[in-house]
Amino acid sequence: MSKIHVSTIVNGDAVEFLADPRETLLDCLRDHLGLTGSKEGCGTGDCGACSVTIDGRLVSSCLVLGVEAAGKTIETIEGMADGAELHPLQRKFIEHAALQCGFCTPGILVAAKALLEENPDPSESEIRYWLAGNLCRCTGYDKIVRAVMDAAAEMRGAA
């Protein structure tokens, strides 16, 4: 099984890697590029811990092959902060204690960012349905939803 050379852009950086065509984008991010912020919780698209965006579209990176990333633009949790400046969602998650173990957090942050880009003023229900594919077993979601709502308000300038 020969490997395929893949060139892509991850968090603004041009990167290259050799992928076995069976490897998922998640495998390639974690094992070839050392970007272990995206997590595997299920491998079947049911938990959302591996959420990334490809060309701006939110996906589960466990359901994308690494070879499909060729020529795309990929954003992961590692690219969410602007240097030392956290994204408002990241800051609000810490302030609201919206994480306990923190394992689902990267995927939820990436998904929530995609939501706020599409809908800057989501209702509680819209947040809950958008994040339904991001399982969290620790928090009961309450503080996560509040943190997203608070970050959205701040980003709208309403905070």
Partner: protein
């Protein structure tokens, strides 16, 4: 920073600072089990039994070993023999011996140069099985003619003539139960069933293990307790315990399921056989569900006597639980918790720990208590309805208080059940209007809390900042609460304290972050260690001032002359003392090794409103309130988080989560698609009230808060469903088909 508590004697305790590991965890930098790679690392994969019960006749790994890049295969033949007791159970569960005992039981493992290759090699290992009769359900497993799963596994408590799969028997109680039932106006007896559930942590088990021919090894692993991993792996492999060094990664949830070993010894055995190269094993979700930590399933008979005005006169509980093919279903703790919220003149408990062809049950948040609460709190609710009494009033009338003889024997010290009931009753949720097909349920719950082996060291750095080395992995914000308690004691700001979860080589033995013990036990130990360091700093100041150490007191992070010397010298700050420590006697540190006493039990009361769709039987949670006694909330946001998380795990257990087996004994829903944990859109906000009845046994009044919250949801939701639909569900989960069938039966009846 706003303080939540009315208590103003503290600067830090009761505030909500940002957690110290927050930045790493929102940026993807925090390293969890699967995030570690080591030089020369191989990847491991595990071959698992597809049968619920089968004799292993032959394992042929020749095709796998013939693949280029495959470095080692291990089977049970590679493990030492002659183990006994729980060590033997752990070894047997890590790798099947002569018989595979459940679907998913490991039978072989392989190491190769890539994850894909290891997986491919695992598929090439040929195992010949002779399928044996199996039993899955607890009520089937306890039958006298059930297939005997492990003859000889029963302990001293099991007498001759018991069914073959009963491995432990428990009976205890006090008072005259029959007289109690005689004195009652209403006696009800019902049977309640719960299905096995999984802890459902989102992070699959993962480790990197390395073991050389010299018997020295190291391991990186996601676990609640790395000393447990070290001891158990060493026992299973016959290693000297201290030669294995285990580092706990950040942990992606555990809930009790990561307090024991699964594939960790396999990684070490593969490493040794590969010439000492590190081996990484990461479980798939299917492996997690098939082969790790489910809880027990339960079949429970409960009988209660009550007078017309709601006074309980006696209670009796007979519980049967299966915890897989190994002894250890939490039937004893379930019985202890069953009637714990009540002051009963007479109570009797009887329990059976039963084997079945399922994975070895691991602890899950207040082990046993949720099932017990479901049975007892459902029956109490049924009786309240029958007698037309308010369920909170009945609980207040019978509620355990300080001085009550607990159902499990001893006399309660200061406890906060009544306070939770009163707070629940006063909360607006308890009087919110309900619409058609909606109903409200109430239930209380109990957990002991626990202390356990604890070793902590704290040391003062050259600039007067403090480091605390602890052995309890931070699973939900404990670094924050520990830093707050140390900062409070030391009189320094929160961010001048760094709490490190250190490896096994750095401290004496520590039990895991389990039993709701981290903030209580590690916290108390850290305070004791800090007080030692403070005493040393007072001695250093006294020496400099030329006065007796007893004449120095520690105030707001400084040594100050006290008593007759008060005001004679300016306060000496921690930074000043620390800056000179190399010339005043060397390092300044404190430590604690012991079993911190003073555990305080915890009670909670939940109120839930649901709506039941009468056409489909689907239950929607509309409102949820958790009231629980925290003793004192060090960091209220993380206390609330424990309450909310426990409640939602309970919602899952009550409504949708269950292990589904086919007639072939295979688990049918080993994915998050069909093992249905609650998703964000299933839930409302989870309202919380933190009741604070301080625990006199802790310097800051802490009671453990992690576990109690999962017990009340099961009965509270069942009680709400009964109120909404008019039908009593006595078998969890209350899936739509079950609820609809009950509604239809009710209409027909």
């Amino acid at each position: 920073m706003a303080k939540d508590t009315v208590n103003t004697e503290y600067k830090l305790v009761g505030t909500r600072p940002n957690r110290p590991d927050g930045l790493d965890k929102v940026t993807g930098r925090a390293r969890y089990g699967a995030d570690m790679s080591m030089p020369g690392m191989l990847w491991g994969a595990v071959v698992r039994s597809p049968h619920a019960h089968a004799k292993i006749k032959k394992i042929d790994a020749s095709k796998a070993l013939a693949l280029d890049g495959v470095k080692a295969v291990v089977t049970r033949d590679d493990f030492p023999t002659g183990l006994t007791g729980e060590d033997w159970n752990l070894q047997e569960n890590s790798m099947a011996g002569e018989v595979a005992l459940y679907d998913g039981h490991a039978v072989a493992a392989v190491a190769a140069t890539s994850a894909l290759l290891a997986q491919q090699a695992a598929e090439l290992i040929e195992v010949e099985y002779e399928v044996l009769p199996h039993v899955i359900d607890v009520d089937d497993a306890i039958k006298p003619d059930a297939p005997a799963i492990r003859p000889g596994a029963a302990d001293h408590s099991v007498s001759e003539g018991f069914p073959p799969n009963v491995v432990r028997y428990i009976d205890y109680g006090h008072g005259d139960v029959e007289a109690g039932f005689e004195a009652a106006d209403l006696v009800m007896e019902k049977t309640y069933l719960t299905e096995a559930t999984h802890q459902g942590y989102i992070e699959p088990h993962a480790c990197v293990g390395q073991l050389g021919a010299d018997g020295k090894g190291e391991m990186w692993v996601c676990t609640q307790g790395h000393w447990f991993i070290r001891y158990m792996s060493s026992a299973v492999l016959g290693l000297d315990v201290a030669q294995l060094r285990v580092t706990a990664s950040e942990i992606g949830g555990g809930f009790g399921g990561k307090t024991t070993i699964f594939m960790e010894p396999l990684a070490l055995a593969l490493s040794k056989k590969s010439g000492g190269r590190p081996v990484k094993i990461v479980m798939s979700r299917a492996e997690v569900l098939r082969a790790t930590g489910p809880t027990a399933s339960a079949s429970m008979d409960v009988k209660i006597g009550m007078t017309r005005d709601g006074k309980m006169t006696a209670g009796k509980a007979v519980f049967r639980m299966q915890g897989g093919a190994f002894p250890g279903a939490p039937v004893d703790m379930a019985l202890d918790c069953a009637f714990a919220p009540y002051d009963l003149p007479a109570v009797y408990h009887e329990g059976f720990d039963v084997l079945a062809n399922r994975p070895k049950a691991a602890a899950y948040r207040a082990p046993g208590s949720p099932m017990a609460a479901f049975a007892v709190e459902s029956l109490v609710d049924e009786m309240c309805r029958e007698l037309g009494l308010d369920p909170i009033d009945v609980r207040l009338k019978n509620g355990a208080r300080e001085g009550t003889k607990a159902s499990y024997g001893p006399t309660y010290n200061r406890i906060g059940l009544v306070e939770t009931l009163e707070a629940a009753k006063a909360h607006p949720n308890y009087s919110a209007p309900l619409g058609p097909n909606q109903g409200r349920g109430v239930a209380s719950g109990f957990w002991f809390n626990y202390n356990g082996d604890t070793a902590v060291s704290m040391a003062i750095a050259e600039d007067g900042t403090a480091q605390v080395s602890v052995g309890t992995p931070d699973i939900g914000g404990s670094r924050a609460s520990l830093a707050m308690m140390v900062g409070e004691t030391l009189g320094v700001p929160y961010d001048k304290v760094r709490v490190n979860v250190v490896e096994t080589g750095a401290l004496g033995i520590n039990e895991p972050t389990h039993g709701s013990r981290a903030t209580f036990a590690t916290g108390k130990a850290a305070v004791v260690a800090t007080e030692q360091a403070i005493a040393e700093m007072c001695r250093r100041a006294a020496a400099e001032w030329g006065i007796e150490p007893e004449a120095v007191e520690w105030v707001d992070g400084s040594a100050q002359p006290a008593g007759p010397n008060a005001g004679k010298f300016p306060p000496m700050t921690i930074a000043e003392i620390a800056g000179k420590m190399s010339t005043t006697g060397g390092p300044i540190a404190g430590h604690y090794e012991g079993f911190p006493d003073g555990v305080g039990v915890s009670f909670g009361t939940h109120v839930v409103d649901v709506e039941v769709d009468p056409d489909t039987g689907k239950t929607t949670v509309l409102r949820y309130l958790v009231v629980q006694d925290a003793g004192r909330a060090i960091h209220p946001a993380y206390v609330e988080g424990q309450y909310q998380g426990g409640a939602v795990q309970g919602v899952g257990w009550a409504l949708n989560e269950e292990y589904v087996y086919g007639d072939d004994g295979r688990l049918q829903n080993a994915t998050f698609l069909d093992y249905r944990v609650p998703v964000a859109s299933d839930l409302p906000m989870i309202d919380t009230v933190i009741v604070e009845v301080p625990n006199p046994g802790h310097p800051y009044g802490v009671r453990g808060v992690g576990e109690t919250g999962i017990a009340p949801p099961l009965p509270a939701i069942a009680n709400a469903v009964a109120a909404a639909s008019g039908q009593r569900l006595r078998h969890l989960p209350m899936t739509p088909p079950k609820v609809l069938a009950a509604i239809q039966a009710g209409q027909d009846g």
